[in-house]
């Protein structure tokens, strides 16, 4: 016992897997115990905290089938995840290559710096009214909200990851003959451009057919917009990726060496974006975890709020673990930090 407590106060003493898991379980048990004590008692008068402010553990768990079946929480989670995935994919598709370019061509970096600073310091909540004004009440607004909230951070972190690659790698690449090859750049960038075009047009197609108030479909020029999205996507993908793919020092050295850090930052930012989506879903969303929380607050049962929060945390944890597992497979030469 004495030994055990001594380990708790030893600096940087790493616990084994089981011991670490036990400590985490202890924390959960403690929170549940406090919750239980605060809400114990048959009647409201017997409790330390009344049931309106904080329902008891038992009451909360009892409402789970209700949340699962009547409120269809799984479907809402899928909607929330879909929105985040859409906006975040867009942010990564633009922020990552732009960040790589900004860290490779430092004049471009200086040029983009004001936008990056502005984008990272804008209050996220202020984007809600703005995106409502720009993109209406539908799904486009939610996707664009996530995009605008995260793109500057994705850009900044990607740029930082590339800047972190020591110069000696670049020097080595030059003395080994790494050069500019327009042909490779053209072929590669054309493929990336086509991919961007396909993804953007598909996204536009789905967004314009999504349920809910739909300003996109009201446009008479739907088909013109559809093709416009295609051309825009191609131009965007081509312009962003041509320099990366044409310069061997970037394609073969800077990008691959920075990639583990870029993916790691994407994982952390995705977690943040998943939290932000609740903000947008409070307004005019039929489905979504944010919508469920909002609805439960207004119409009850309030237990659903707590259950939703727990589910969100579990979901975010699962996604995080999934990406970590992916990182380990993709980058066997790089350790991913445990948190």
């Amino acid at each position: 016992m004495r030994e055990y407590f001594k380990r708790w106060v030893t600096i940087r003493e790493r616990p084994g897997w089981l011991e670490g898991a036990n400590a985490s379980i202890l924390c959960i048990a403690l929170v549940l115990a406090v919750w239980y004590v605060l809400t114990a008692g048959e009647h409201a008068e017997d409790r330390i905290i009344d049931p309106i402010t904080l329902p008891s553990v038992g009451d909360t768990l009892e409402k789970f089938p209700d949340l699962w079946f009547d409120r269809a929480v799984a479907r809402s989670a899928a909607w929330s995840l879909g929105r985040v995935l859409g906006g975040f994919t867009l942010a990564a598709a633009i922020g990552v290559p732009l960040g790589v370019l900004a860290a490779s061509f430092l004049r471009l970096g200086a040029f983009l710096k004001p936008i990056s600073i502005f984008g990272r310091n804008i209050p996220i909540a202020a984007l809600i009214p703005l995106t409502l004004m720009w993109f209406g009440l539908g799904e486009t607004q939610k996707v664009m909200f996530i995009f605008l909230a995260s793109v500057a951070f994705v850009f900044f972190d990607s740029s930082g990851a590339v800047q972190g690659v020591p110069n000696s790698y670049l020097d080595a690449a030059y003395t080994l003959g790494a050069k500019y090859s327009a042909r490779k750049g053209l072929i590669g960038a054309a493929w990336v451009g086509l991919t961007y075009a396909a993804v953007l047009t598909l996204a536009y197609y789905f967004l314009s057919r999504a349920p809910g108030p739909n300003d996109v479909e009201l446009r008479a020029s739907w088909i013109r917009w559809f093709w416009g999205m295609g051309f825009f996507g191609f131009a965007l993908g081509f312009a962003l990726w041509f320099p990366i793919l044409a310069f061997q020092p970037i394609r073969k050295v800077l990008l691959p060496l920075a990639l583990p850090d870029i993916v790691n930052s994407l994982r952390l930012l995705f977690g943040l974006a998943f939290g932000y989506i609740m903000l947008a879903e409070v307004i005019n969303a039929e489905y979504g975890l944010g919508a469920i929380i909002n609805l439960s607050q207004r119409q009850g049962p309030r237990e659903h709020i707590y259950l939703s929060l727990i589910l969100i945390a579990l979901l975010a944890f699962a996604i995080d673990r999934g990406i970590i597992a992916l990182q380990r497979r993709l980058f066997p030469y790089r350790q991913v930090g445990e948190h």
Binding site: S168, T175, G177
Partner: protein
């Protein structure tokens, strides 16, 4: 300041080891090269000053030039000027000529080996070694074969090590990868910036012998920066000693070529006399520094 070629040192050869290619320009020539950093600011620093030397393109052999000097005297600056690496390149004044032409950019004809190895972490040993060929557009099968050959030549085990990543290798093994990756491109000049500085003494001797062996095979001119006097006398055909910063070439020795293993040759009397002599010069320089 003209560098004095000392010909009365112990264990010296007074003549170059082979005749220069007739009519060919020197492989590397510095003409009064000066490099200043932060010109026009209050932090202006002169890294090297009026460095002048000529290394001839010898028939069928390359010369091995070891560069010694007190710390911070601009040894690396000379290498990086030959390689064409910023920010040392371009020189503030003077001319850096390679085959009689001014150096304009880095290229695979002037390979460089760094102290921190700079092996690409994301590539296996074989992909690291094949990097230069990959940049040239050599087809995969061909470059893998060539890389395996070089993995063997630097005495790594192709079966065991070829598909390892750099983080699974020791420092000495990583430097072997870096050397293989440079030599596979058959450079005419090899620039080595304290390549064995971070290795333990035993590994160091092995690497020195390996380097001598490979250098004979590729017949390149080598510029080798080091802090280790014994290493420079063992490996070098010629040893340059730089002055305190701003560096300029103070002495130039011709020393005997390494014809026996390092452990053996370094024990011999003439060898040690030369080492002590050079060490005395360096100690005097270090003392005069501040």
């Amino acid at each position: 300041m003209a560098a004095a070629v000392e010909t009365n040192a112990c264990s010296i050869t007074d003549a170059p080891k082979a005749p220069a290619k007739p009519g060919a320009p020197p492989i590397v020539e510095f003409k009064a090269v000066t490099k200043k950093f932060g010109v026009g600011t209050s932090r202006e620093v002169t890294a090297i000053k009026d460095v002048t030397f000529t290394v001839e393109d010898l028939e069928n052999v390359g010369e091995f030039v070891a560069i010694l000097g007190p710390s911070g005297c601009g040894k690396s600056t000379i290498l990086r000027l030959i390689a064409g690496h910023a920010p040392q390149f371009p020189a503030t004044s003077g001319e850096v000529l390679y085959h009689g032409q001014p150096v304009i950019a880095p290229g695979p004809d002037r390979g460089m080996v760094f102290q921190d190895y700079a092996c690409f972490d994301n590539r296996t040993v074989i992909d690291n070694v094949a990097f230069g060929l990959e940049c040239r557009g050599v087809p995969k099968r061909e470059r893998t074969e060539a890389a395996l050959e070089w993995v063997r030549k630097v005495r790594l085990d192709p079966a065991r090590d070829a598909y390892k990543y750099p983080h699974q290798l020791s420092g000495g093994m990583r430097q072997r990868v870096a050397i293989a990756r440079t030599l596979i491109l058959k450079p005419q000049v090899i620039l080595m910036d304290e390549p064995f500085g971070a290795l333990d003494p035993a590994t160091r001797h092995n690497m020195q012998d390996l380097l001598v062996e490979l250098w004979r095979e590729v017949q390149a001119t080598v510029f080798f920066v080091t802090h280790d006097v014994a290493e420079s006398v063992y490996l070098g055909d010629r040893v340059y000693i730089l002055s305190n910063a701003p560096g300029t070439i103070l002495h130039q020795f011709h020393v005997l070529a390494p014809d026996r293993p390092a452990r053996q040759m370094m024990r011999e009397k003439p060898f040690q006399d030369t080492v002590f002599r050079i060490r005395d010069i360096l100690d005097a320089l270090e003392e005069g520094k501040d």
